[in-house]
């Protein structure tokens, strides 16, 4: 009995280790693939530039008033919220407050005289104290419209909103994402939505 069992236990060694190798190789590929994809457009503050949103409801305030060509930006900021972010698993809501106590609007946008070459900027003004990987309050500022075309404004609004949910730049040459800096793309890619935004929020 012991011989047989010994034989049985020693014989399958080779196929077992081969299978294990296959299994490990499979695992390695499984882990490497997302890492390779992540290199194309990192997500969140550990991989890339930007903190995550603090919740799946992205509130925003139009603090631009009526001056400084605000209307030229308002159209595209609202369009990017309605047509780029709203179709994802996140939702967006315009609010009229800047902060109620420690409850800050997630994204406050306004026009500003930005120094060249900036057309638009996003900056996290306040972290979530209990979780600094998330941002409590973003400022998004757009330069007065004289320095940009309508397409640039559309691209810039989508791009900066993408930063406010944690998306970094996309470097894939064929990407349709507005997170690709060297293009004038005006929407998120399906990769942005299905790989990053939807699983996170």
């Amino acid at each position: 009995m012991s011989d047989v069992s010994l034989g049985r236990s020693t014989r399958p060694t080779r196929p077992a280790s081969f299978l294990r190798l296959l299994y490990l190789a499979g695992l390695a590929v499984l882990f490497a693939l997302p890492a390779l994809i992540a290199i194309a457009n990192p997500f969140g503050p550990t991989e890339g530039c930007c903190r995550y949103a603090d919740s799946s409801t992205h509130t925003w305030l139009d603090a631009a008033g009526t001056g400084g060509g605000a209307a030229a930006w308002e159209f595209y900021f609202e369009a990017a919220m309605d047509y780029d972010l709203a179709p994802t698993d996140m939702s967006e809501a315009e609010v009229t407050y800047h902060n109620i106590g420690t409850n800050y609007v997630d994204v406050e946008w306004y026009t500003s005289s930005l120094e060249p070459p900036a057309i638009g900027v996003a900056q996290c003004i306040l972290d979530v104290p209990a979780d600094p990987t998330r941002c409590n309050h973003w400022h998004v500022r757009f330069n007065y419209p004289t320095s940009s075309t309508a397409t640039q404004r559309h691209h810039t609004a989508c791009h900066e909103i993408g930063h406010t949910v944690g998306l970094d730049h996309e470097t894939s040459p064929t990407s349709s994402s507005c997170m690709k800096s060297t293009t004038s793309n005006v929407t998120f890619s399906s990769h942005d939505t299905t790989v990053h935004i939807n699983p996170k929020y």
Partner: protein
């Protein structure tokens, strides 16, 4: 990437700042250890040639002064807002345009400080770039600025490159894969000069 500081570090720095503020009558503004990262969108260029065409002057020079620039107030909170920097560059050599070595040009910098209502200044790190410093040697691709005169605007973030001692150029902006950025990052100032004269 700018560093994110340990909460105790921030607490300690804040305490030291508060102590420093209460112990001095100095009116100079306080800055914090904290930095704010700014992600900016700007034009990009597919080639050195395209960026050079869009530039009115291209100069190599040394930053001789970094001063406070324009203040852009927050629309709601009084006293709060973004303060730019104003760089003065002494031209060492001219690759394009109607300026001469020895002249100075003023270049406003888009990332300066976020100023809180109490006057505290938080340094802005724009597209991965810390504040330019006095003594820096760099190559600048510049176009007109609304202020006119000797004030010029950077045409693209890849239009400012550090010049290393051996003449090699180094990009300062992060994660930028434009054609001009990739081309310039492997060149020297003399190679750029030669490419532009062809």
């Amino acid at each position: 990437m700018s560093k994110r500081h340990h909460p105790y570090g921030i607490a300690l720095a804040t305490t030291l700042l508060l102590v420093a503020q209460s112990c001095t009558s100095s009116t100079s503004p306080s800055t914090t250890q904290r930095t704010i990262e700014v992600e900016a969108v700007a034009s990009t260029f597919e080639s050195l040639e395209a960026m050079a065409q869009a530039s009115e002057i291209i100069v190599e020079g040394e930053i001789i002064e970094v001063a406070d620039g324009r203040f852009q107030p927050h629309p709601i909170n009084e006293g709060e807002g973004d303060l730019g920097l104003s760089l003065t560059i002494e031209i060492a050599s001219v690759l394009k345009g109607d300026v001469e070595p020895g002249e100075t040009v003023t270049v406003p910098w888009a990332g300066g400080y976020y100023v809180e209502p109490d006057g505290t200044r938080i340094p802005l790190v724009i597209n991965g770039q810390a504040h330019p410093e006095v003594g820096e040697n760099s190559l600048w691709f510049l176009g007109p600025h609304p202020d006119g005169g000797a004030t010029w605007g950077l045409v693209a973030f890849e239009g400012r490159l550090l010049v290393e001692d051996n003449g090699e150029l180094a990009l300062t902006t992060h994660r930028l894969d434009s054609g001009a950025a990739l081309e310039l990052n492997a060149m020297t100032v003399d190679e750029v000069r030669q490419a532009l004269s062809n």
